[in-house]
Amino acid sequence: MDKKTRWMFWIAGIIIFAIFPKLAGIYYSNIVVSMSVWALFAVSLNMLLGFTGLLSFGHAMYFGTGAYGAALALTHVNGLSFFSAMAAGCLCSVVLSLIVAPVVVRVSGTAFAMIHLAFAQCMFVLALKFRNITGGEDGIGGFSVSHIRIPGLFSLDVTDPAVFFYLSIGTVILNLLVLWFVIQTPFGQVMAGTRDNVKRIEYLGFRVSHTKAVVYVLAAGSAGVAGAVSAMHQNLVAVNDAYGMMVSVLPIMIVMVGGARSFFGPIYGAVFFGFLEEYVTAYTDKFELILGLILIIFIMYWPLGLAGIFLKLKFKWLTRKQFLKRSGGGAG
């Protein structure tokens, strides 16, 4: 892709983003918001799974903590804006990860996966039992997000679905960009090295546990942002949707289907699952069955996921282009 095409691509993206709520309406805008939340959550998980080689069966604990953090902040602090609530959610997840990190970075493999399962279940039970704080099974709902105001300039009503669309998508994109830049830095190379050969990384003088801790906190914070946006989007946080087992399993499925070795894989996966849910549930209530079948197919036949398929198609297209160029262009 040359520079000009890239610029055109970005401009087209921005225009589509700007007119989407008007063009597609509230319903589809909300679907895109949900997809973006899942995309960010899955990318945050993939920072651990795909780039550092750490499989977590309990990433929901950061998503849930972000969601509860934002909801509690909005419930108890008057006049809190979208960004403040999001920051509160993110901060809660980061604090939790800082508490948990010293324990979990010392383990890897199955132990890492299972210890997260245990932590997530603890959070689930705590949220269920401390109903005075969390609302128990009912959750916390009906909180209001204040308008975003700059006196004399503008006031944005966050309850307007179009405004919420811009804010949430913008937030998700910014967060994704931060994660993308981290991957591009030398630190990103250390992460990949940790995944591929821990001993070599240690030998090179990097502290593996510290690397893991930094990635871990970063992933937790991003999951917290996703949770906070989700809480404000749903205007409700319930224990099953915050800390439930499926909340931990679904991003793993999204990553597997999208492609764990690619930064954009989980985003493809989230979009794929979003569309799948939208269209499959209109015809059948056996969505989970179809989800399972798709996962089996991907693991068996396309282990690199959608990102791998796209890469293959791109490679074929480029090869054909080069071939046509060499043979004088055109089939005739």
């Binding site: 509230i26 319903y27 679907i31 949900s34 269920l128 409700l236 549930t281």
Partner: protein, 463 residues
């Protein structure tokens, strides 16, 4: 030859009878009622193959869980509401904006999940363009529907969630109408029954689901005991997770507490699992409940294990069930369809009758349709003005009114004691003279007047 004394006696009896009829008629002071005199031919009703009404329709979204553990609830919601819609359509529909419109029901599966509830409700409003939202199970999910009803200005009929808090404070929505009973009524009705009518057991144990509904129904029961049964003793209180499968830890505590009655608001499948496990553990205590009336589950347990259960019902009218030929015809139309036409999953004994709690789902559709017909429009503001303070009589003769200040239904409740089949005749007064021959079901019925158990009123709304 008849002696003069006999004439006098007959005349006296007739006058008492006439007075009773006149009294009864005057007691039924309602704005509208279901017309039992012109029951349409319902022989083409098939819940698995609902007739899609043609032309411009009034769309109602039935929001419920149709998958997962809550699916059985959605199944019942859809069956009974479909019946009412079919009935109304067979009568030609409802006159709205000068045009007869039929009712179209659309299933909306919320999977008992908040995010899906929001999504599916918005899909119903924005894509399917429904006129009315109906449902759903679980208070926090109903709250989501209610919030969306406010946002998109759609009438929301809540015939299924009974937490008082749904219609209080910031949760109150002028677009939502609670057509069934509320937790405050149920809890206090159970206490009233034990304290003012039965007056036997004194030790109670509360075991409810751990969410707003379970908590508020338990609070109402405790309030009711203070008010109507001060000598009663609460020997224990526990709250369990929804869709729990192992009640043993709780039941062990119940056993040790010396309780004489277990009060629970649990709904299916928890309600039955709780009862089943208690019987397996040798706990034969009666349950004061609102949802342990599923014949399939009770049949599985055997008649003796269901005897003594006390059901607080919003649908009762006192014994016997059939008070006039019109309702007998209505009931037989349903029962005949069930016997001859219903296919799985609707051909089980669970759906053999159209009275009791499940029938309330159908009745709520009749009431909604009647309100729309009287409003003559689908404009939500006009529907609200007709519905506030409205009163309606259901097919079984039960009357219900809508409190204007907070949109909660006000009605008498009934405590129904479950008995063996041969004793069910006092309730089911037409052949075969029992409700279920393989399980315990309604026997003696006791009325709890509405004025003793009014739904909780938010002082900010009901000044």
């Amino acid at each position: 030859m008849i002696k003069p004394k006999r004439y006098l006696a007959i005349a006296f009896c007739l006058s008492v009878l006439c007075f009773g009829i006149v009294q009864d008629a005057s007691a039924i002071d309602v704005n509208a009622s279901y017309d039992l005199s012109t029951l349409p031919d319902m022989s083409d009703f098939d819940p698995n193959l609902p007739l899609k009404p043609d032309g411009d329709t009034i769309k109602i979204a039935i929001i419920s869980s149709f998958t997962g553990p809550g699916a059985v609830t959605g199944e019942a919601f859809y069956l009974y509401t479909s019946w009412a819609a079919h009935d109304i359509n067979k009568r030609g529909g409802i006159l709205v904006d000068g045009k007869k419109k039929k009712i179209e029901l659309i299933k909306a599966d919320n999977q008992s999940r908040p995010d899906v509830t929001k999504k599916i409700t918005e899909r119903m409003i924005l894509k399917e363009k429904v006129d009315i939202l109906w449902g759903t199970q679980m208070s926090h999910l109903t709250q989501i529907v209610s919030q969306l009803a406010t946002r998109y200005k759609k009438i929301h009929v809540n015939a299924t969630s009974v937490s008082d808090s749904l219609m209080e404070g910031k949760n109150y929505s002028k677009y939502s109408f609670m057509t069934s009973y509320s937790t405050q009524q149920i809890g206090r009705a159970a206490a009233y029954y034990y304290g003012q009518i039965r007056k036997k057991e004194t030790k109670f144990y509360i075991l409810c689901q751990d969410y707003v509904f379970g908590r508020s129904i338990a609070d109402a029961f405790k309030e009711g005991l203070k008010e109507y049964y001060p000598e009663a003793e609460l020997v224990g209180e526990d709250y369990h997770q929804v869709f729990l499968t192992d009640f043993a830890p709780y039941l062990t505590k119940v056993k040790a507490s010396g309780a004489e009655v277990i009060f629970t608001g649990d709904w299916m499948p928890d309600a039955f699992n709780l009862l089943k496990q208690s019987r397996q553990m040798g706990i034969m205590l009666p349950f004061a409940n609102i949802f342990i009336n599923d014949p399939i589950s009770l049949e599985e347990l055997g008649i003796e294990n269901g005897e003594g259960l006390v059901l607080i019902s919003p649908a009762g009218t006192g014994n016997p069930i059939f008070k006039n030929q019109g309702f007998i015809n209505y009931y037989k139309a349903w029962n005949n369809q069930w016997k001859t036409k219903f296919t799985p999953p609707y051909n089980t004994i669970r759906y053999s009758h159209i009275f009791g709690n499940p029938a309330m789902y159908a009745y709520s559709i009749y009431w909604t349709a009647s309100v729309i017909e009287r409003a003559k429009t689908l404009d939500p503001e006009k529907i609200i003005s007709v519905w506030e303070g409205d009163s309606y009589q259901y097919p079984n003769g039960k009357t219900v009114s809508m409190r204007a200040c907070d949109h909660k239904a006000v009605t008498d409740l009934h405590a129904i004691e479950f008995v063996k089949p041969e004793d069910q005749k006092q309730c089911f007064n037409i052949p075969p003279y029992y409700i279920y021959n393989t399980s315990a079901a309604g026997g003696p019925v006791f009325e709890i007047p509405s004025e003793k158990i009014l739904p909780k009123a938010d002082p900010q709304l009901c000044k």
